[in-house]
Symmetry: C2
Subunit: 345 residues, 2 copies
């Protein structure tokens, strides 16, 4: 047998008993001090922690997690916490996780692929019981599945068939919203969109395109503007498109930050809503019911989406070998006052 | 010696070499597959993961973290991600963490003490390099410090002297805001407040009280309303106070969610701002510059607060034994159109 072993005897792992003896306290006090569950006099705790450090004792919670191969934390990866959609989604997950005894560990990957993969590695290293992700590509779910970590994709899906997904029917509701503008008489409808290579973006774009095609409105690619995720950028892009000679009479913003950018651009330009410009938003946000007129929006219930994703993850943890499912939740259009017929040309 | 040992020999820990041999691949391929760093053919990865599982191999990242006693993740604990203040704070921390090679792991404790302590334990178990917390009590910092985890308290502080803190001068700016209302002629100024047993709440309350006292305005405890953290609750509380016979002529909302509740209550009651009611907010929010008139607000730069907290934490990780510091950032008042002289009675 060619395997070599180190010559020196490896040190025996320190036990709780060793720590208790070194600190001069009982094992139960030591256990409480190191687990953080229950209170221990400050002086005793200091001695215990010092002894544990010196002996290289592996803390209780970690040792237990290693032993059981189970963790009570759930990893969540989202793209931008400052977008209230993700904050609501996270709130739905966190509430449901808490009621089932899990702690939600959240990472904001800031839309960056490398951050997403670092976070996924961190979830593996810390033995998350499962991960819920708004993916930037298929890589993150593939990686986690290969590490045997249950995964649910939410909002966006890249791994249909390979892992569970909880989404809304973006194409259908985007189409209905575009139909609404066309029914009012609009023909030049701009679409401000974030990332068309994400499934949400490509589906929303498809719904918009389909609605125009069904109404026989010729395609005008110059009306589809990639405006990212940032209010400032969207505001600038919207000023650009609204000051063109052949400006659109309506703008469909494909997320709530883009809608804020368009709204502020209209305000910058002194355009009255809806008389001079109709605006609609994919995703509702708090301010849309506070401004006057309110903004007609597609409301997905992001909290419910988060709850459904957490429920799906718990099912998956229970039954790792069941076939992957896709859950599609409804989204509704909230009509407010931001649309009307276009001005006669 | 009275210590007893188990009779059976404990199993030898599986090594990377063992896993590689069982999977029939090289050690470097095995290392790449288990660390997730670099790509490995799917079939090989599956065999490697299966072998590692069977042999009970402890994954690379975790073993390395255990060995080095260092982690590249930073734990962050906030109270409510749906409050944009915390989302902005987290964005500041995450951006700075990323530029220094750390991943931010965020937990929303939902304002619950038990959640806060569970999260702190999870950060200890996963060997976070440090923790930034908006604490609910002194317990969380005490616990983490005893576990030798560097801690920075941000926004609220409960452990002055024991750990680093990054805050704003809540009392002074709350006092200046109250002075502003008094200067306009208001005498009946309500304060809607969240938690007066948090340092932020108690300091804001102190600033308000001090301003009234300095102007010789008699104390009226019925004008100070504990309204929690929820827009709906604040709206109800505000309707209550605004429909009293001796209703206040101005309301100072001690956080942005309370301000939204007051604003919506005024709208419910058909009160015109500022003619019928002056409103001011502690904390700016996106909608406050979108409604008409805009809401006069105290703007703390939550992103900068997060960045300063992360910088402080990095310093603390470098130098664990330096004396604890408190960093106080400036906050400014943004005058918009939501205040005016009260109507003549």
């Amino acid at each position: 047998m060619e395997e070599t072993f180190p010559r020196s005897t490896p040190p025996r792992r320190a036990t709780l008993k060793d720590v208790a003896r070194a600190a001069g306290v009982s094992q139960s006090t030591t256990s409480r001090a190191l687990s953080g569950e229950g209170y221990v006099a400050a002086a005793a705790r200091d001695r215990i922690v010092a002894a544990a450090d010196e002996l290289g004792y592996v803390p209780h919670a970690m040792a237990r997690s290693l032993r059981k191969q189970v963790s009570r934390s759930v990893g969540v990866l989202v793209s931008d916490l400052r977008n209230t959609f993700y904050a609501d989604l996270a709130a739905g997950i966190a509430g449901r996780a808490r009621s089932r005894g899990y702690t939600m560990m959240l990472v904001d990957d800031q839309g960056l692929l490398d951050q997403e993969l670092h976070a996924a590695q961190a979830f593996v290293a810390t033995r998350a019981a499962g991960v819920i992700v708004t993916p930037l590509s298929a890589d993150v779910s593939t990686y986690l599945l290969r590490q045997r970590i249950p995964v649910v994709e939410v909002d966006r899906r890249f791994s249909a068939g390979a892992c569970d997904a909880v989404v809304i029917d973006n194409a259908s509701v985007a189409r209905r919203m575009t139909d609404h503008l066309i029914a009012l008489g609009h023909r030049r409808i701009a679409l401000l969109i974030d990332e068309t290579d994400w499934t949400t973006g490509s589906e929303r774009f498809a719904g918009y395109t389909r609605s125009l095609a069904d109404s026989g409105i010729p395609d005008d690619p110059s009306l589809v503007v990639s405006a990212g995720w940032d209010v400032g950028g969207a505001r600038k892009a919207a000023v650009g498109i609204l000051t063109r000679r052949d400006a659109p009479t309506a703008v469909f913003a494909a997320n709530n930050l883009l809608a804020e950018g368009v709204w502020r651009a209209a305000s910058d330009l002194g355009l009255r809503i809806p008389d001079d410009l109709s605006i609609v938003s994919f995703d509702d946000a708090q301010w849309m019911s506070m401004v006057s007129p309110g903004v007609t929006a597609i409301a997905q219930d992001a909290v419910a989406l988060g709850e459904a994703a957490m429920d799906r993850l718990l099912d998956r943890i229970e039954d790792p070998d069941a076939a992957a499912t896709t859950t599609v939740l409804e989204a509704q259009i909230l009509p407010r006052g931001s649309t009307s017929a276009p001005r006669p040309a």
